[in-house]
């Protein structure tokens, strides 16, 4: 836990790692919301906001999918805004950003440090991208016309938890590695 806190402090205190973390987090969140169908085309230009359904904020429409409460139109885009979907997207995005920024940080270690950094990387965040979509299939599957929606539907409830778990494991391994490196004497060899 201390190692994890130390890694997070390091990530948030360095401009370069903070930029990677936040950039990846927001980029992933937008990709997640797009593939989940929350962000899509159909906008008619300009900015229009309407939030007529706050009472539905906690209504579930699937496992870890919630009802939108408002519509945000920006240029050609329409965002059916669900606070909880957005929090989930940002949460996974922050985990992914921490993994990638942490990986970058430990790879900056002195060459003399011989322990290889664990490279869990962004693959762990991929399952969550298949969790949302149209009513009955992930959008990627619909766009590609893949006849695998039946199998994916069985897995759907587990995709987001699976991604979160894998990213947390990756972050813990990075923290352990970072802590180990920090505890070694500077320039230490074998």
């Amino acid at each position: 836990m201390i190692a994890l806190a130390r890694l997070l402090v390091a990530l948030f205190s360095r401009p370069a790692t903070l930029a990677i973390l936040l950039g990846v987090a927001f980029g992933y969140a937008l990709l997640f919301l797009w593939l989940a169908g929350d962000i899509a085309g159909g906008g008619q230009g300009g900015l229009h906001l309407a939030f007529p359904a706050w009472e539905r904020a906690f209504e579930s429409r699937g496992v870890l999918r919630f009802e939108p409460v408002g519509l945000i139109e920006l240029g050609p885009w329409v965002w059916t805004f669900s606070p909880l979907d957005t929090l989930i997207a940002l949460g996974i995005g922050l985990l992914l950003g921490s993994n990638l920024a942490g990986l970058w940080l430990v790879r900056q270690a002195p060459v003399a440090c011989t322990i290889r950094a664990p490279s869990v990387g962004g693959l762990a965040a991929l399952p969550a991208l298949l969790a949302g979509g149209a009513c009955c299939a992930p959008l990627v599957v619909i766009w590609l016309g893949l006849p695998i929606a039946g199998s994916l539907a069985v897995l759907a409830p587990w995709l987001i938890p699976l991604s979160c778990l894998a990213l947390l494991v990756g972050l813990a391994r990075l923290a352990a590695h970072y802590g180990h490196r920090a505890s070694r004497p500077s320039g230490g060899g074998r």
Binding site: A40, P52, I142, A153
Partner: protein
């Protein structure tokens, strides 16, 4: 003695608890009049999760309606709508709304009806619902929407119109004819029609169809694109998503390609020695199906098509059959071996 009193009390208690639900159950037709190509158990085994949970796709229970002028501000003439006409009242349910909700529990001309649409099978069917309402179970059979009625929780695949599980298993719903047509054609036929409004009580992007589009046809709806979910039976006589006009009657089933019907105007066919006639409605570009017990010859040129449907010499001797348009792969999954008229892949 005391055991008998206890049993009687339990029966009375059970009746008191379950009677309100049964009283509100949707009106059904008896098991004997329902014929299925597969057993109920086979359908139940094929049910699979579609992803969303029960009511994860929310039915519209309090539909708001608007005028033609209001609908013209956001509907293009070529946009698909599902039309319903009953006793002088016309309704248009835009496909762009139903793709997000799949069921509208409405009352038309005093009759409680459920208008149902399954985007994965391209099918729109209407059912009488009595005092009950239908919801979306979140489950599929042969890619087709499985509805549930909120009075008894029985499950009904839309294309069957027959409950496959629950207290009403084996019983069939009373169908109400819906028309799959364009907004332009529907409002020309029914200038006073009311239209389902986007004010559904839910926030959705009604300008976008997550599966593709019908105006023009694209994405999942393309004729040659593949189904996403497994099916109980396959038949390669047509492309999977080719739209057919389909009907079943007393254990027999037939599908008609619209290009063949357009070209002929009038088609006749015989199923199990029963003659049928199918008439093309050139304005709505759909077909009207009738039993033709006297074997009447119908001259298409003598027919007129109006709000009430088809009129003309010989029509009164025909018995209407409910028909609907549906993607071929879904129809043959439910009705393997269905007769097909117009096998040529004309556009």
């Amino acid at each position: 003695m005391s055991r008998g009193v206890l049993t009687l009390s339990l029966i009375l208690l059970w009746s008191a608890v379950s009677f309100p639900a049964w009283a509100a159950a949707p009106p059904t037709i008896p098991d004997a009049e329902v014929s299925l190509a597969h057993s109920l158990a086979a359908y139940r085994q094929t049910v699979r999760s579609g992803g969303p949970g029960k009511d994860g796709i929310p039915a519209i229970d309090r539909p708001h309606l608007e005028s033609v002028a209001e609908a013209d501000t956001w509907l293009e003439p070529g946009d698909r709508v599902i039309g319903l006409y009953r006793d002088g009242e016309a309704r248009a349910y835009p496909q762009r709304i139903l793709v997000w909700h799949e069921i509208v529990n409405d009352v038309v001309a005093g009759e409680p009806l459920s208008v149902t649409y399954c985007p994965l099978t391209g099918s729109a069917l209407g059912f009488r619902r009595g005092d009950s309402t239908f919801g979306v179970s979140g489950r599929l059979v042969n890619s087709n929407l499985v509805m549930y009625d909120r009075a008894t929780d029985s499950e009904w695949p839309q294309l069957l119109g027959v409950a496959i599980s629950g207290p009403l298993a084996g019983r069939g719903l009373n169908a109400e004819r819906l028309i799959w047509t364009t907004w332009g054609a529907w409002k020309a036929r029914h200038p006073e029609t009311r239209v389902l409004s986007r004010d559904t009580g839910y926030v959705r992007n009604y300008r976008r169809d997550p599966y593709g589009g019908y105006n023009p046809v694209s994405g999942y709806y393309r004729r040659d694109s593949r189904p996403l979910f497994p099916v109980m039976a396959r038949d390669d006589r047509l492309s999977p998503k080719a739209m057919v006009l389909a009907f079943r009657d007393a254990g027999s089933a037939a599908a008609i390609r619209l290009p063949a019907l357009r070209e002929a105007g009038v088609l006749t066919l015989t199923l199990d020695e029963r003659p049928y006639v199918i008439l093309h409605d050139p304005e709505l570009d759909t077909g009207w199906v009738y039993r033709n017990p006297e074997g009447r010859t119908i001259d298409h040129a003598s027919l007129t098509f109006g709000p009430e449907g088809v009129r003309g010499p010989g029509i009164d001797a025909l018995e209407p059959i409910s028909a609907f348009q549906v993607m071929w792969f879904a129809w043959v999954a439910f009705q393997p071996g269905s007769m097909l008229i117009g096998e040529g892949e004309a556009p």
